[in-house]
Symmetry: D2
């Protein structure tokens, strides 16, 4: 019943408050014998780390992962993998004045209403820092998927502040370009405009949102459980569980609402010994089960709620209305940093279903 775990067979539990001692994760259910190094995990954590770029917050998160259990002689033991990152460079002072003043667009108000009190320092449990655990777990999921099916996960930004990347970017372009610019956009022209758009918002004490796409290649057909734990249903949950995400779509997504059946349906053909689809408007999933075509998902990311512009709030201790202007270092656009988190969540869902699918038939094929 508690909500801090995700996955049935590959089960991830995160813990930690932003300004507490540490944040961490326990991954239970990873099969024994998977080769994995600390570097595999650190690499992914470094991708979500706030860097020197002007678009991300300046907190110096070292984020060096410590692996505490579950890996022995370079391979997983089949036992829980516990990992943590210590919270350092923490300055809780800016949060003191806002102790009883919920920030609009943040979870401050809802945590207080739910639990009666909250750790107000740095957003507490509702901080983006919680995603450290997700990304570390996602690194293991990626290794597992690669070992099982040679699956590859790619994420990139396709829209920021109304600026859209070119349609029809190839997988090669995404692989080549997405990690090479500050906004993680594979269309380098659009990337420059997005950066400009972020700068403008920042200058006016405001923030912008955008759209992130995550893709999985080499996903075998047959992943996903009817009828509630459909692959797309679990992906939707996984991605919507990331803070700031307000929408999820698979394949043609909301566009499909405006298409005819004859435009939407992906027709079949035979390719060697395999049934393939001519198009992939389904985004790699039919009836909640993977088709073997690439999995394609997009998420709507709202603009960062922490803005320096004046906003109306209330002091919930004194129950009076107050004005609030949020100081300090905040990403004016979180889309680029959400990319590795969204990849991690997609990887976790696919790893979970890759294991679950081993029990679909009496006689395992694989």
């Amino acid at each position: 019943m508690p909500g801090n775990s995700f996955g049935e067979a590959f089960r991830v539990t995160t813990w930690g408050e932003s300004h507490g001692r540490a944040v961490g994760v326990v991954v239970d259910g990873c099969p024994a014998g998977l080769e994995i190094t600390k570097e595999d995990i650190q690499r992914e954590l470094d991708r979500r780390k706030p860097g020197k770029s002007e678009f991300v917050s300046a907190r110096k998160e070292e984020d060096e992962v410590e692996i505490l259990s579950g890996i022995f002689q370079g391979r997983t033991l089949g036992t829980p993998i516990s990992m943590l990152v210590w919270n350092r460079d923490v300055d809780s002072k800016p949060y003191e004045p806002m102790k009883s003043i919920p920030r609009p667009g943040h979870a401050d108000i809802t945590y207080t209403l739910k639990y009666g009190f909250r750790d107000y320092r740095g957003g507490g449990r509702a901080s983006a820092r919680e995603t450290v655990g997700r990304v570390a777990a996602g690194a293991i999921a990626k290794r597992l998927l690669a070992a099982l099916h040679n699956t590859e996960i790619l994420g990139h930004v396709v829209e920021i502040g109304g600026v859209r990347a070119r349609e029809g970017l190839s997988v090669e372009e995404i692989r080549r370009n997405a990690e090479r610019n500050a906004v993680r956009c594979a269309d380098l022209n659009a990337a420059r405009k997005m950066e400009e758009r972020i700068r403008e918002a920042k200058a006016s004490g405001d923030s912008v949102g955008g759209i992130v796409e995550v893709i999985a290649l080499n996903v075998p057909a047959g992943l996903g459980e009817p009828v509630f734990d459909k692959l797309d249903a679990d992906i939707a949950k996984a991605l919507m569980s990331i803070g700031a995400v307000k929408g999820v779509e698979i394949g043609a997504g909301f566009q499909s609402a405006r298409m005819l059946g004859s435009e939407m349906n992906d027709e079949f053909f035979i390719n060697g010994k395999k049934v393939r689809m001519k198009t992939n408007r389904a985004g790699g999933i039919l009836g909640g089960i993977s088709t073997g075509e690439p999995i394609i998902c997009r998420i709507a990311v709202k603009p960062t709620p922490s803005i320096s512009k004046k906003q109306q709030s209330v002091d919930i201790e004194r129950m009076e209305e107050v004005e609030l202007s949020i100081k300090g270092r905040h990403d004016p656009c979180i889309c680029p940093r959400i990319v590795p988190v969204a990849e991690a969540m997609l990887a976790i869902v696919l790893a979970d279903h890759a294991l679950r699918a081993r029990n679909a038939r009496l006689n395992a094929k694989e």
Copy 2:
């Protein structure tokens, strides 16, 4: 690990194939003492039933629910509530020729790839008929929510085949109009155009998609569990698990990607002894926890995949490419019939979280 159950505290398990003996559901975890009648459930089932309208399939589903357990002397016992609806008026003959020919856009191919074989009659488990169980369980969830918090769930169609309902429909309009027309659109002008649009698609052997909105009123603040079982994450899963849904959004949804932080954030004010929000772009959820404002979600529904237009498929027994034209009675647009299903899924998520929230604090308030 199996995928046919949903919910942690209020747990729904559906079973049944479209042309098997029956379809049904077991609801476990409903507290004892809830007053409920067969009519409460039948009323909801009748709403999803194909009717005399020209837009829905002509199968005469009687769909009379039988309550087999869990209710005694008009009240729930606290034990599992088992309900079923027999499958009658079943004609499996039209499916015989397509036994080994997967229909584009359907789960035929993926079930075969996953399980090695499938019940090809009427779509088997992947049929829309599976939602009978969801709607019956949703009827109980609605009663539970009404008894606990006076919560009300409303669903309506906001777009079909590119025709959009007017923006800013009031709750009163939705309550008054949505159930009064064949497309369940609360904007009666748009409704007529939608009907026209469906007729056109049908005439050309094609189908159309659309967008459905579901709203929950009187949802108390504090529902939703950080960090994975966020209220919006569970809603996203619940709604995406409905066949034909390709996208889910909450509040401003994909629009939020194009907004500034200052436009997106909902500012606070004091109303009596309560903290309220001036706007509701968040759709009633912040940090995964309900704010007390209405919950607002929209889903993208793809056009019905069963179309009479010729499509390319393959015979997977003989492994050769074939042409397919699907005969028989099929809704040219399933949006209207998805309304009660989406309401049911939202109700199930909220009922689940209403129970889970009772354990948020040491000293229950309620």
Copy 3:
């Protein structure tokens, strides 16, 4: 959170009250492709059915199972298998006078205290009739285990009313004799004495308890999950969840408390290419994981609480003390009828862990 389901990968959910419309079960997670017939299930149900014997209650339970879903053309589909048995020959009148008078040793009092009210007819949900669903699900589990590993489950009575079966009964004797006498004891001499002991108890308006042993042969090594879902832990839960069971032991069980380490430890030797154990005091489980030796468990079954002797109770409506003498047909000893139920529960645990074990390693061996 609700308690009517058991198992993680092979998941069983039972429903139904003793004098309601029906009792039933949904089995979710059985892999596709398992051959199974209605007879496989009916045979097990017939074993738990009250028969003509003088030692079991006289209710004519026809208990004909109806399979409603999940099996197609003689094989499992991978979808939920829903089964039910209608409640017929139900006479609720004898329960009317005891509506507000809890029977000592029964769940009447605790259901009332928990739920506020209860279905008093025939014990409601707490009736032994609930085990119909367990036995039906167990029949599928047995088939699955046989198909996967050639596993065989055997149950027999080893003690009733203080009369013990001979020590050291061979598997062959159990197979041959246990089902051939009314008390299901494989030692035919002891069986006669047990029958005599039951007759005496019955004559004096009393009842007797006993001990049932269940054994699983051909269980592969490696089943069971550290550290909480140990194989023996799940078996203990499964068996203790059967009404009237007050104790569970594995292998040497409570005897191990009086043994030396050198007497208890099972030494290893090499048999062909396998590591085997010279003795099996561990009962086939070490560290919560199966060793490959037979699984051996015993349960303590209390005497039937329904006795005609006068007992002190209270009328909880009028809150006054009353005397109670329970009329009607009740087994003076339920051990024989618990045998198929205990077998079913052991089978369900093993089937669940057989599936879970498929994910123990990166590269499935099997």
Copy 4:
């Protein structure tokens, strides 16, 4: 599906290998607002710590708990409580020669057969050191139970090596005496004999087993979920999941198999406004639900498998039979150290069900 978590509403996940970096636990689902200090947890950990006594192993486990999350300003936040204890004073050298030689009675062989390889140092995950996490979580469960219902948990040793404590020890005697002697036996005469018995076993390079009893006082009526998650079923699982436990019984337990119904049934009487039982052979549980009387459970603990006497084993690398004599520091009897672990597991089950019971009725009473 993975096995390292326990509990539905109050969920405990342990991690860590004996000679890895650390061992720890995440407790999810503890309601917000519970006052708890590090000392509350440390006190329980100190009780399981090997001490100066001659009967427990000499490893200097400092076992100082670090609380990493979930507690703020002395109260639980409602978020996961992460705790760890570093592994220090670790000497893995004695385990090197036994790398490929499984110790009889240990999990060495089964982990290898399950996972293909294992962390052989100090027993790895199967070490008693794993219980550090259980005891830390149990400390929180005890605090929660005390705050909710004033529940008290008591554990003591009732038998070691055939020496039994006096029957009919009072709660006061257990409270007063159990923690005052090295074997945790509340009968001080028996305690001396038990100590003698352990000394003899140790002198002959052998070990002894025994029986531990755990009791819960002030458990409200109504805890436990029919039909699988019965309170006694979950207790049986919880206790059987402790290494070395081979049997579990509730109330009269295995004795009930030899009793008449009229002897076993607990008769009712009225005490003020409450229905009470004259006797408590049921051990506080009827139909899987607590009666309000004390919960009484006993477990059979096998003798420590690590003995210095020569034993037959096999070298699984070279597949040849070898003789093994286990050197080093090992408790000749683990019963005394199991007491706090068994208390912890009982507390976790009761805390879990105390939370789950809040949803038994539409209108919470509490």
